[in-house]
Amino acid sequence: MENIYLLIVLSPLVGAIIAGFWGGQIGRVGAHWVTSAGVGIAAVLSLFVLYGFISGDNQVFNGSVYTWMVSDGLKMEVGFLVDHLTAVMISVVSFVSFCIHIYTIGYMADDEHNWPQESLAGKNSYQRFFSYISLFTFSMLMLVMSNNFLQLFFGWEAVGLVSYLLIGFWSVRPTAILANMKAFLVNRVGDFGFILGIAAVVMYTNSLDYAEVFKAVPGLADTQIQIFGDTNWSLMSVIGILLFVGAMGKSAQVPLHVWLPDSMEGPTPISALIHAATMVTAGVFMVARMSPIYELSETALSFILVIGATTAMFTGLIGIVQNDIKRVVAYSTLSQLGYMMVALGASAYAAGIFHLMTHAFFKALLFLAAGSVIIGMHHKQDIRDMGGIRKYMPKTYWTALLGSLALIGFPGFSGFFSKDAIIEAVHHSTIAGSDYAYAMVLAGVFVTALYSFRMFFLVFHGEGPRDEHAREHLHESPKVVTIPLVLLAIPSVCIGYFTVDAMLFGDWFAGALHVLPQHDTLGELGKSVHGANSMLGHVFLSPPFYLAMAGLFVAWFIYMKQPSLAEKIKGLFAPIYTLLDKKYFFDEIYQAVFAGGSRGIGSFFWNKGDRKLIDEIIINGSANNVGRFAGLVRNIQTGYLFHYAFAMILGLLFLLTWFVIF
C-alpha cells in the first residue's frame, strides 16, 4: 500500500514539475493532459483507498518513507498516516481538484487576453497555471497524509506559498498583487502561532510524530507552564490555542479572515480550489487530527467555539450586501468555515469533517457555476448587471440551484445533514460559550438562506441582463465547464444521505478522532436521532428548517417581489449597511494599525537604526577607519632594507623581553 500512497502524493507533483519546467515544450494541450492525468491518478487511487477502508480490506497505515535527519533524538521524517480520516480527505481533495483541472481547461482557454501584450509573464501562463494547481493539490495531499508535525508544517506552508502564487496569478493587476500579499501576510500571522504550537509540542514531548505525541499528551494534561511572569497556563490550552491560531489563518476565522474575500482576485478555478477542498479546510482538518490534544483543554475548545460561531454569523451578514458574485460566495465560505469550527469546538469533530466534505462539493459547485456565469457575462462579476440568465444557461442554472439548496441545508440535500448535525451537536454541548454559539449558528441559517438566494434570484431570475451587448453573446458554457458542474452536483445532492450514518453515528472515525465521554455531543445526539431517515423525519420539528425557509422567502420577497424594498431598507438601516458594506472596518483598522504601525516602526528602524547607526556609524564608520588605518600602516613598509632588518631585531627583542619578564 505504501507505493499507492506515494503515488497519490507524487503524481500531482510530477505533473506540476513537467508542466512548470517544460511548459513551453509540451504546449498547452500537453500541460493540461499531464497535470489532469497526475491528479486523476491521485483521485482514482484515493477513491480506491477509500473503498478499501469502506470494505474493511485496508488497515490503518502509519509509517515513514524517508528520514530527512535525526537531531538530538528528534526524528525529522516524511511519513504517511492513512486512516479513515485521511482517506476521506484525500478523496475529497483529489476528486474536487480533478474536477477543477478539467474545468480550468475551459476557463483559462483564452487567458492570453488577460495579459498585456509583450508581457513575459503572459507567456505560457496557461501551462503555469496548471502547474500551480497541481502543485497546490500535491501540497494539500502532503498535509493531510502526514504522520508528523514537520510534514504537516511543510504542507501548510507549501499550500500558503502556492496560494500566494495563484491569487496573484495575474501579476500585472495591482489588485491581485495586493490580494496575494495580504493573503500571505495574514497567513504568516497564523503560521507564527502554528509554529509556536509545534515548538511547544516538541519541547514537551521531544517528538514530531503524531502517534508518539498523542501517546504522551494525556500525561501532560495537568502540566502548568509559565510564559509571562508567574501566571500559570495549562500546557494543553497553550498548545491548542497556538495551533488553532494557525488554523485561524489558513481557515480564515475572525479576525484573520480578511485575506479570503480578497483572494477572489485570482482566477475562478483557484477560488474554487482554495475555498472548497484545499487550504481553508486545512485548519479544520488539523484541529480534527489533533483531537487528542484538544480534548484535554476545554479552554481551547471554548475558544474555537466562540471564534467559529462569530465567524459563522458575522461574515454571513456581510454576504448579504456584497454585489460581486464571487465575493458573495467567498463570504458564504467564511460563514461555512465558521460552522465547521463550531462543530470542532463542540467536540463534534466528525460533524466538522462531514460538513467539510459536503461543503467541498457544493461550494466547488457554486464557485464553478459562478465562474460559468462569469464566462457567459464576459468577465463581468456584478450581480446587479445580471438577471434572467436562467434562459441562456440552463445547465448552469440547474446545477447552481442544487448547490444553493445544499448550501442552505434544504432537507435531503447533503448540506442539510451536515449543518443540522452541527447545530444539534452545539445544542448538546455544555462547555463555556456553547449557548452563544447555538444562537449564532441558528441565526446563521437564516442569513445563509438570505444571501444565497438573494444572489441566486438576482443572477438567474428577473429581467435579462441590462446590457444589450452582453445579452446577445450570452450562451451556455462549453462542455469542459458544464461536465464538472454535473459531476459536482451529484455528490452535492446525495452524498450526505448516504454517508451520514457511517460518519456521524457509526464508527467510521473510531480510531482517528478522539472524544472524551463528557464531550461526546454527537453520541448524545445519536440517542435521539438514529440516522439519515430519522433526521429527515425530524425536519419539521426543528427550527433550522423554518429559518432557512424564512430566509429563502425574504430573499424572494425583497429582491423579486418588491425590488424597491431593498433600497428602502438600505436607507432605513444606513449605519448598519455601511458597517456591513465596509466589512466591520477590519481592513481599515488593519491598514491603519498593523500596516501603518509596522511601516512606522520599519521606517524608524530604517532611518535611525539601519541608516544612521548601522550604515553610517558601524559599517561605513568602521570601513572608513580600517581604510584610513590601512593607508597609515602601509607606510611602515618603507622599502628600506635596514628598516626591515630593524623590525626583525625589534621583534626579537620584544619576544626575548617577554620571556625575561614573564
Binding site: 590601512a630 593607508g631 632594507l641 628598516h643 626583525m648 621583534g651 619576544l655 617577554w658 620571556f659
Partner: protein, 479 residues
C-alpha cells in the same frame, strides 16, 4: 654507524629528484633555445615521478634512518606528494609566461627542482641539522629564482632584500639551534624532546634558543613582525616565481613548524604557544588590514598570505591533534588556492604587461566569463565563503582553537577574516560589475594551462562540498 642500502628506500624520492635536477642541468647544456621544452618536460616528469615514488614508498608506519637524522612518516608522505604536485602545477602555469619573457631556460627548472628537493629534505628532517640543510637549499634556490630576470631592477632588489633578511633569519635559527644543543646536548628531535625534562625548566638558554628558533621559523612562514620581505619579494619577483614561493614552500614551512616545535620542543608548548599567539594575532591584523590599501594584486596576495599564515599558526598553537590536522588542512588548501590565484595573474599577463594592477581585472567577466568564474571561486575560497573549501579550512582551525578554550583568539580571527573578506570580494566586484578598461582580447593560452586552471578553480568547490576526504588524509597523516 653502519650504512645499509635498505635505508635508502625511504629517501628514494629525494634521491631521484636530486638525480633528475642534475640531469636537467646537464641535458640543458646540449639543448638549443627552441628545444628548452625538453628541460621543462624532464622537470615535470621528475616531479610527477617523485610524487609517485613518495606514494609508492609510503606506509602508515614511521621509519627513522641515517643515524636518526631523517624520518619518513605518513605526514612526510602526504606533504611531499602535495609539494611535488603543487610545484608541477606552478611549472605548468609558468611555462607560457617564461617563454614570453625570454626566461624559458633550463636553469629555472634546475633551481626549481633543487628548491623542491630542499623542501622535501625539510619535510623529512628529524634533526635540527637536516632541517637547516633543507632550509638553506630551498632558500638559496629561491634567492636565485627571484633574481631570475636579471634585467629587472625590481627583481634584483627583491632578491637582495630577500637574501640579506634571509641570512639574518638563518643566523638566528642557527644561533637558536646551538643554544638548544647546549641545553639538551643533542640536535635530534627525539633526543632533544627527551633531554628537556632533565634541564631546569626555567633555563634561560633553552628559552632563548626557543625564541631564536621560532623567529627563524616565522621568517620562513612570513609571520608578523618577520614578514617584511614578503610584499617586496612577491611584488618584485617574476610572477611565476611569486607563485612558486607562495605555494609549495608554505607546506615545507608547516613541516618545519611541526618537526621543530611539536616533535622537538613539544615540552615547551606553553612557551611557544604564547609566541605564536602574539605572531598570529599580529599577522591576522596586519595582513588583512594592509591588504585593503593595496592596488597591486601581487602585493595584495602577499598580505593575504600573511593573514593566512596567522590562521595556520592558530591551528598549530592549539597544540592538539585536531589543531595540527586543521593547520595541515589549511596549509594544503592554501597552497592550492595561492597556486590558482597567481595562475590567473599569469594567464592574464603577456609580454610587457604584468596584469598585476587591480584595474586590470575590471570587467574580466565580459572578456572571459570562465576565468572570472574561476577567480571568483578562488577569491571566495580565500575569503572563506561557504561552500568553498576555504570556509572549512577556517572552520576547522577555529573549532580546534575553541576546543582549547581560546575563544577570544578565535573571535579575533573571525573578526579579521570579515575585514579580509572585503578585499577578496572587491576583486569579484571589479571583475563582474566594473566596465573593462582594456578591451583587447586575452592572450591565447595553451589547453594544458586552461585545464589546470579549471581543475584548480573547481577543486575549491569540490573540496568544499566534500571536505571529509582531505581531512581524513590529514588526520591520518598526523596520528
Amino acid at each position: 654507524m653502519q650504512f645499509e642500502m635498505s635505508s635508502l628506500i625511504p629517501v628514494l624520492p629525494e634521491v631521484f629528484l636530486l638525480t633528475m635536477a642534475c640531469v636537467v642541468l646537464v641535458v640543458d647544456l646540449f639543448l638549443k633555445d627552441e628545444q628548452r621544452i625538453v628541460s621543462y618536460a624532464l622537470a615535470q616528469i621528475a616531479l610527477l615521478l617523485a610524487a609517485g615514488l613518495t606514494v609508492a614508498v609510503g606506509s602508515a608506519e614511521t621509519q627513522i634512518i641515517f643515524d636518526n637524522h631523517v624520518i619518513r612518516d605518513p605526514m612526510s608522505d602526504l606533504l611531499k606528494t602535495t609539494i611535488c604536485l603543487v610545484s608541477a602545477g606552478a611549472f605548468l602555469y609558468a611555462k607560457d609566461y617564461l617563454r614570453d619573457r625570454d626566461l624559458f631556460k633550463g636553469e629555472y627548472y634546475a633551481l626549481g627542482l633543487f628548491a623542491v628537493l630542499g623542501m622535501m629534505v625539510m619535510v623529512s628532517a628529524n634533526s635540527f641539522l637536516t632541517i637547516y640543510l633543507g632550509l638553506e637549499l630551498l632558500s638559496l634556490s629561491l634567492y636565485a629564482m627571484v633574481a631570475f630576470n636579471r634585467d629587472s631592477k625590481a627583481g634584483s632588489e627583491a632578491a637582495m632584500k630577500y637574501f640579506v633578511l634571509g641570512a639574518i633569519a638563518s643566523g638566528m635559527l642557527l644561533y637558536g639551534i646551538s643554544m638548544i644543543y647546549g641545553a639538551t646536548g643533542s640536535i635530534v628531535f627525539q633526543e632533544v624532546a627527551n633531554g628537556i625534562p632533565n634541564t631546569d625548566m626555567n633555563d634561560m638558554v633553552l628559552v632563548f634558543g626557543l625564541v631564536f628558533v621560532v623567529i627563524g621559523l616565522s621568517f620562513k612562514l612570513g609571520a608578523v613582525p618577520f614578514h617584511m620581505w614578503v610584499p617586496d619579494v612577491y611584488h618584485g619577483a617574476p610572477t611565476s616565481v611569486t607563485m612558486f614561493i607562495g605555494s609549495a614552500p608554505k607546506l615545507a614551512a608547516f613541516a618545519l613548524a611541526m618537526r621543530m616545535l611539536v616533535d622537538g620542543l613539544g615540552a615547551l608548548h606553553a612557551d611557544w604557544q604564547q609566541m605564536l599567539v602574539i605572531m598570529s594575532v599580529l599577522s591576522l591584523a596586519t595582513g588583512n588590514v594592509i591588504a585593503i590599501a593595496q592596488t597591486n594584486i601581487k602585493r595584495m596576495l602577499a598580505y593575504s598570505t600573511i593573514s593566512h599564515v596567522g590562521f595556520i599558526l592558530l591551528g598549530i598553537l592549539a597544540g592538539t591533534q585536531e589543531g595540527y590536522t586543521a593547520a595541515m588542512f589549511y596549509t594544503i588548501v592554501y597552497s592550492i588556492m595561492a597556486l590558482g590565484g597567481f595562475g590567473i595573474v599569469i594567464m592574464l599577463s603577456r609580454r610587457g604587461f604584468e596584469a598585476d594592477q587591480l584595474d586590470d581585472y575590471k570587467g574580466l567577466h565580459d572578456r572571459s566569463p570562465w576565468y572570472a568564474a574561476m577567480m571568483m571561486l578562488l577569491m571566495f575560497s580565500m575569503a572563506g565563503v561557504p561552500p568553498t573549501v576555504g570556509f572549512f579550512a577556517k572552520l576547522f582551525v577555529l573549532d580546534a582553537v575553541i576546543r582549547v578554550d581560546m575563544v577570544w583568539i578565535a573571535l579575533f580571527g573571525v573578526f579579521f577574516s570579515i575585514i579580509g573578506a572585503f578585499y577578496y570580494i572587491r576583486i569579484v566586484k571589479i571583475m563582474y560589475f566594473d566596465k573593462p578598461v582594456d578591451d583587447a582580447p586575452l592572450a591565447p593560452v595553451g589547453m594544458d594551462t586552461q585545464v589546470l586552471l579549471t581543475v584548480n578553480g573547481l577543486s575549491m568547490l569540490g573540496l568544499g562540498l566534500f571536505p571529509a576526504g582531505l581531512l581524513t588524509l590529514c588526520s591520518a597523516a598526523l596520528s
